[in-house]
Amino acid sequence: MDVLLQLKNFSYTYSETKAAVLQGINLEIEAGRCYCLTGPTGSGKTTLALAMKGLLEKDGCSGEVVGPDPSDHGDFRVGLVLQNPETQLLATSVGAEVAFGLENLCVEPGRMLARVEAALSLVDLRKPLDYPVARLSMGQKYRLLIAALLVMEPQLLILDEPAAQLDPEGLAAVHDILSDLKGRGVAVVLCEHHPGPFLDLVDRFWQLDGSGRLSAGRWRASLMPSDSTVSKTAGGYSVAPVLLGVRDLAFTGHGDVPVWEEVCFDIRRGQRVVVTGLNGTGKTTLLRVLAGFLKPSRGRVRIFDAEPDPRLLRRRLGCLFQNPQKQIFENTVREELAFPLKRLGWSSREIPSRIEDTLRLCGIEHLVDDSPHKLSYGQKHLVAIASVLAPAPEMLFLDDPFAGLDGARQQDVMEILASWNREREMTLVWTSHDPGEIPSLADGHLHIEGGCIGWR
């Protein structure tokens, strides 16, 4: 097999940190093979992907990155799809998006059209070239992004956490594209916590251990919490009071297209409900309507025996939207937790003990005086959750709270939520883009499909 890329004793240190993120990495990538890079959140998978693409600052690098002999392979190109497709699509139409790389390579405009059409056909995206990118689904956007890289004819394609963004349908489409590319001799590297959908394609696993060392094998998080750690509340919910009642609810999106309609359900105190649906089915919209931030086009929502009004709900409802870290703004973890307590009227005598209790229950009491901005991805996630839990809301909405977290961090978050639910009867409603993986934490499952929402 042709070796396309070699890393020899490669190490990397970010300028703002002292410890090396990658240490003494040795690897070889061969044409037409698929590799899966596993490891916990924050272990350096994306950094290694950037190293393969040659996008790291030279100052922090040591060791060698060796490409193939130009006489055999011509210009060696690496395609890299980063995590969030939304921030990587730079043009407004499908054709312009795919052509962006060709523009950068100074390809003659007259030769662009054929290459753009060929790349779109490789990913089976059959849309007019002037079709607006904004109207594509998440799965289609991801395929468009792959086409935008394939048009530059890379010999190596790296995908960073596709499963964090894509629903099963989108993952199946990407699987077929990768299988085709392997057959064409393109090497593929997947940086992925959950390689399940791609297992049959993977020829070799690597794992980063969290200290920057790479070894052969697949990293696995400890097992998900069993029913013993996430114990169900004794007794049925049928006797608990209804906290959230929805009747004949409908929401109409842009262009008067109904997102979902005729929605009816009740959620009772202490319930743990997961709302699933493919990308773009309106899960976030549902949470925003229930919290009173969006007005439904028809129907009625009763939450805590009243119409949803954010002003009245802010003592009783907590809400974490996607990527909860973006709500962090204070200088220390202590101040971050103190903010909602002060605003929600807790006395200055109660606040310190409340912060201490919450941090202890979330297992991050040692971070109390640290800057939340300098913590790892997983720790920031826990701080954001702790700051929402601190005022002890009766109900908590979470929008895809496990996306982007490895199995161990998912378990941490799940255990925290389970213990608050168990001890304080806090009602939980959270969304997930994967209807196939329902955590044991859930005791109710609402599914959105075809504009309808129903219990499963």
């Binding site: 990587q88 950068n104 607006p132 931030f293 802010r314 409802l317 903010f339 929600l344 700051s387 929402v388």
Partner: protein, 230 residues
């Protein structure tokens, strides 16, 4: 509702990109000419000092509007904006001069401001992002034209981020609902827990976009070619 306002603003901005793909119904003027026309009309609106001059600038704007026939102009939204702006300016003029004599001057200033921004709206509604980039590439470095076009493209995304931050902070107890903000002592909350995280998110977004561009070899050559489509 508070969130509705963000949604409407977001929809408006997002629609801007959808219009890129509507067929032009007006005279197909070159982008450079349209850009120059918009700039000239805006400058003239600022320079107008008499009613006659302002009347002539208005007539010129009407002519350009009829010729270019922009699609998707919301007269209701534009009308509301104009009424709101006029009311604020006229009230300020009356307070300043202490009599109704300020009404006429206030109306003129308001109309002048409206005419200063109207040509840009017509230009944006009748020109796609790709065409703007192509035109700008001729008069400025390709990096700069890319940055300008990308800012336009990602404005709705940034607004979504701000909306998420805003709604999350409301439920954390921040006093930033419209009724809260009627009291100036609550304004620091808006700066502290929405503006600051929004700036941080904006910088992170800029970093992500820059990385996405570098991944596709942006900056490899000092000049770029241009996609001939759209």
């Amino acid at each position: 509702m508070a969130g509705d306002r963000f949604s409407r603003l977001h929809t408006t901005l997002a629609r801007g990109s959808h219009h890129d793909n509507r067929p032009d119904k007006g005279i197909p003027l070159p982008v450079g000419v349209k850009m120059l026309l918009a700039l000239t009309l805006s400058c003239l609106a600022f320079l107008a000092r008499t009613e006659t001059f302002l009347g002539m600038v208005t007539a010129a704007n009407l002519l350009v509007f009829v010729l270019l026939r922009p699609q998707g102009v919301s007269w209701w939204r534009q009308g509301r904006l104009f009424v709101f702006q006029t009311t604020v300016i006229v009230v300020l003029y009356i307070l300043r001069f202490g009599s109704l004599a300020g009404v006429r001057d206030g109306l003129l200033i308001s109309w002048q401001l409206f005419l200063a921004f109207w040509p840009t709206m017509v230009f944006a509604k009748t020109t796609s992002q790709a065409k703007i980039v192509r035109a700008m590439n001729r008069i400025m470095p390709s990096r700069m034209s890319f940055v300008m076009a990308t800012c336009l493209k990602f404005a709705p995304h940034l607004l979504e981020e701000v909306r998420d931050i805003y709604e999350g902070q409301v439920l954390r107890g921040a006093r930033i609902l419209p009724k809260d903000l009627a009291r100036p002592w609550n304004w620091p909350d808006l700066v502290h827990c929405v503006v600051v995280p929004a700036v941080v998110q904006g910088m992170a977004l800029a970093g992500n976009i820059a990385m996405a561009a570098r991944v596709r070899d942006f900056g490899l050559h000092s000049r770029r070619t241009c996609w001939p489509g759209d």
